[in-house]
């Protein structure tokens, strides 16, 4: 790789916590969901992406601001202001959503194993052991390298998108209003369900806790609030900048040629304009790195939220036993997810849409408390939400609830 390129990517990924969250948001579930969105829906899904980006920026900024001003994590505050029952309820929501996401990550690993001709369960088992070693002994360099590989993978999508010579006018104008397709009943139904998936993979329940834990861990200052605010918006832009090209790359290769996305090999077609006959291998390694990253971060966020909600942190004398609970919680999620992916006949891409939609459905629950907390002038002083933040996020939370209900009905009654 060109050294300058490497430097730029490194710069992007170490820009700050918000950027890191944003990058981590595009995990294997993200790649799979964006791929299926581009392949099934074409450019019109980009319209939804624009709003999702703004909502991502607004809500992440809320989480960051909440922690910087109050010096408490989101889970801390929910527990202190709303009590044990609400805490358990939200934690269970988070746990279910995260288990879904972890299952997708593992399912992506299973998919790559068949692309790389390795026995799947052996490979998955090996990755689980690796994940455990990683969190017990992992270091910054390794994390950075994995992030770098994943970022490079995204860049591959950008180059592929350009090389596929898409109709840029159509792509960009679809950001403003969705058009250029026949709005059949089936298309609208898919748009709704996959759109929920795109929402749930871009804005995640764990992401809300992650950003707040990160801000807390870093002991950042509320003096740098405006910088952090800029950073969260920048992070949101960056996430969906990559998502945009992933969708364009898959739309211009798969959707344009009417290829239905069912396997990893087909998803790899999207990066063929760049990678040629190496596309399959490159896709396999790229999604493997993305999956591994998700596999670390998502269960960690559950464990973190658990310790914040139920006060497991901060002890000296029982340090060992408490870390033990922490590690058990981490591994238990991976093991449950590993059991789930042994169910035969489920494709990665179906599972991605299903679990990411589930993520989206948990969001309003978390947003409700996030908005309530950040609206409170008693808690936030002059840093409470302004009108735009308040109304934009509230309106979209309501829209998500409506979309969730319609989606569930559409699936249950096979509309």
């Amino acid at each position: 790789m060109h050294p300058r390129m490497r430097r730029i990517i490194l710069l992007l990924s170490v820009f700050g916590p918000a950027t890191i969250t944003a990058m981590a948001d595009n995990d294997a579930g993200g790649v799979a969901t964006y791929s299926i969105a581009g392949a099934t829906l074409g450019y019109p899904i980009l319209f939804a992406l624009l709003f999702i980006t703004i909502l991502l920026g607004v809500t992440q900024e809320m989480g960051m601001r909440l922690t910087l001003v109050t010096r408490r994590g989101l889970a801390d505050l929910i527990r202190e202001k709303f009590g044990v029952k609400v805490s358990i309820f939200i934690f269970l929501g988070l746990l279910v959503a995260n288990l879904g996401t972890i299952t997708v990550e593992l399912s992506a690993i299973k998919t790559t194993s068949s692309m790389l001709n390795i026995p799947p369960m052996l490979f998955v088992g090996g990755i689980l052991i690796l994940a455990f070693l990683f969190i017990t002994r992992g270091n910054y360099k390794l994390t950075q390298n994995i992030m770098l590989i994943v970022s490079l993978f995204y860049v591959v999508y950008i180059i592929s998108a350009v090389k596929a010579h898409p109709d840029w006018g159509l792509a960009v104008s679809n950001l403003v209003y969705p058009h250029g397709v026949v709005w059949t009943h089936a298309y609208i139904r898919n748009y709704l369900i996959i759109g929920m998936g795109v929402l749930g993979t871009t804005i995640t329940p764990w992401g809300q806790f992650f950003i707040s834990s990160f801000a807390f861990d870093k002991k950042m200052d509320s003096d740098t609030l405006s910088l952090s605010q800029f950073e969260t918006y920048w992070g949101a832009f960056l996430t969906d900048f990559f998502s945009f090209f992933m969708i364009v790359a898959t739309a211009s290769t798969l959707f344009a040629n009417g290829i239905k996305l069912e396997s990893g090999e087909q998803a790899a077609l999207a990066i063929q304009p760049f990678a040629g006959h190496l596309a399959g291998t490159l896709f396999a390694y790229g999604i493997l790195a993305a999956a591994f990253m998700g596999l670390i971060i998502v269960p960690l966020s559950t464990a973190y939220a658990f310790s914040e909600f139920f006060g497991l942190s901060g002890s000296l004398d029982t340090e060992f036993s408490q870390s033990k609970i922490f590690y058990i919680l981490f591994m238990a999620q991976l093991v449950v997810a590993a059991l789930l992916i042994t169910i035969p006949g489920i494709s990665l891409f179906q599972m991605a849409v299903a679990t990411q939609s589930l993520n989206a459905m948990v969001l309003p629950l978390i947003f409700y408390y996030l908005i309530k907390l950040t609206n409170s002038t008693k808690l936030m002083g002059k840093h409470a939400n302004n009108g735009f933040q308040k109304y934009f996020s509230t309106i979209f939370s309501i829209l998500i609830i409506i979309a969730s209900i319609v989606t569930i009905l559409a699936i249950v009654f096979r509309w």
Partner: protein, 421 residues
């Protein structure tokens, strides 16, 4: 014995048995002669208003319904005071400091007991049984926990060891420093790492200068810098003098240069000189890690004279276990330990029993090398010399190993991204 979780939401009835509302909160107050807060009033929530009723008006608290001694409107007025503790609003679900375990924990439930007609806060429950009780599974909790755990009170902390933290809304709480005074600075530092900024400010205000300096030394310099940001320059200058010169230099290096220059000017000349010298060196080299508070003596002293001298100058030194022998130009020519000194005959010169082959490190040596030297020779500290073998300071083992074995608050749980900066 009763738990707050079982009391809240209970109907409150007047003397005729007519319900006037439900129990919302309990107000307790600590009295001088007694550590545990005593319930002074109850907060009753009716449909459209909240009223505070003195505890003296309560006939029965621990029953299916809480009954009062008067009719509505006939209650005496409760006069609120600054040190009122609202048990639910201020304590339940909040983080507290357990001064016995030196940790920050979350309160799941609060236990009350009846003593001479008063209700007294006896324990706070920070365990799983408290959570289960909150979820309405009290019976299940009683069934499970006594059978598993030998101690029935596991997960409970006596109020004697509870230190409340000041939260955003509850300005009325004050942290009495008494219980904290006995904690080890490392424990205090650990607690600080769990607190929010406002709480930390309050917390630090309660420590005396010596405690504060010792505690700050246990915290990472960048976080130290943010903690002292709002302190007055006079106080910080005093603090810096109290801290050992190497720690003071590390802290000053984190501050904006105008402020650190200003602070150095305010410090006593001797101390400021040492610190200025240390500031010249790279943070992770021997020069940056060393402290100038070491003990050195002239070679012509006897063992007896040395002991006398140590009594005079030892107070200032960070470590007196090693005594370094230097000549007029401060060349390092020997070292001996306190045990060498005590075992030696009083009248003989130190040059007779000192070790002449001194293990030392160079000013420019990196931390890794120093750590290796320290562990290879089992030292408590290693002297730092320049290329001419002139002694400049010592690096203590804890400073040498600090980066390699980080202090506990940093490594407590795996961080999302390791030690990403």
């Amino acid at each position: 014995m009763a738990f707050i979780s079982e009391l809240t939401g209970k109907p409150v009835t007047d003397i005729d048995g007519i319900q006037i509302g439900v129990l919302k909160d309990l107000i307790a107050r600590t009295h001088k002669e007694f550590n545990h807060p005593v319930v002074d009033a109850i907060v009753v929530q009716s449909k459209n208003e909240q009223s505070i009723i003195p505890f003296s008006e309560v006939l029965v608290l621990l029953a299916t319904a809480i009954s009062l001694k008067q009719n509505k409107g006939g209650f005496s007025k409760y006069i609120s005071q600054d040190d009122d503790i609202f048990l639910i609003e201020d304590v339940l679900d909040k983080q507290i400091i357990d001064t016995d375990g030196a940790r920050v924990v979350r309160v799941n439930d609060i236990e009350l007991i009846r003593v001479n007609g008063n209700m007294i806060v006896s324990n706070v429950d920070v365990g799983t049984s408290g959570i289960m009780r909150r979820l309405g599974m009290a019976k299940l909790a009683r069934k499970i926990f006594p059978s598993i755990k030998k101690e029935p009170n596991q997960g409970c902390i006596s109020w004697d060891f509870v230190e409340l933290l000041r939260h955003d809304q509850s300005m009325r709480l004050k942290v009495p420093a008494g219980k904290l005074a006995e904690l080890h600075p490392s424990d205090l530092a650990d607690i600080i790492s769990d607190l929010s900024h406002t709480e930390t400010g309050e917390f630090l205000d309660n420590l005396n200068l010596k405690q504060l300096a010792d505690t700050l030394e246990e915290i990472e310099p960048d976080y130290q810098a943010s903690l002292i940001k709002d302190m007055s320059d006079e106080k910080v200058a005093d603090l810096l003098e109290e801290m050992s010169p190497d720690e003071a230099a590390d802290l000053l290096a984190e501050l904006p240069s105008t402020r650190s220059e200003n602070l150095l000017d305010m410090m006593e000349d001797d101390e400021a000189k040492d610190v200025r010298k240390l500031l010249l060196f790279h943070e992770e080299s021997a020069g940056g890690l060393m402290t100038t508070d070491y003990v050195s003596i002239h070679p012509d002293l006897t063992a007896e004279q040395t002991i006398k001298k140590l009594r005079e100058i030892g107070e200032e030194a960070e470590l007196i276990y090693y005594v370094y022998v230097t000549d007029v130009e401060n060349h390092l020519i020997g070292v001996f330990s306190l045990s060498d000194l005590i075992m030696a005959q009083p009248k003989i010169k130190v040059t007779e029993f000192m070790h002449k082959r001194v293990v030392s490190v160079n000013l420019k040596d990196e931390q890794d090398e120093i750590a290796q030297v320290v562990s290879k020779y089992n030292l408590l500290a290693v002297p730092v010399v320049d290329d001419q073998n002139i002694m400049h300071g010592i690096v203590t083992t804890d400073d040498a190993l600090d980066k390699i074995i980080p202090t506990s608050w940093k490594k407590r749980l795996p961080r999302f991204f390791g030690t990403l900066k």
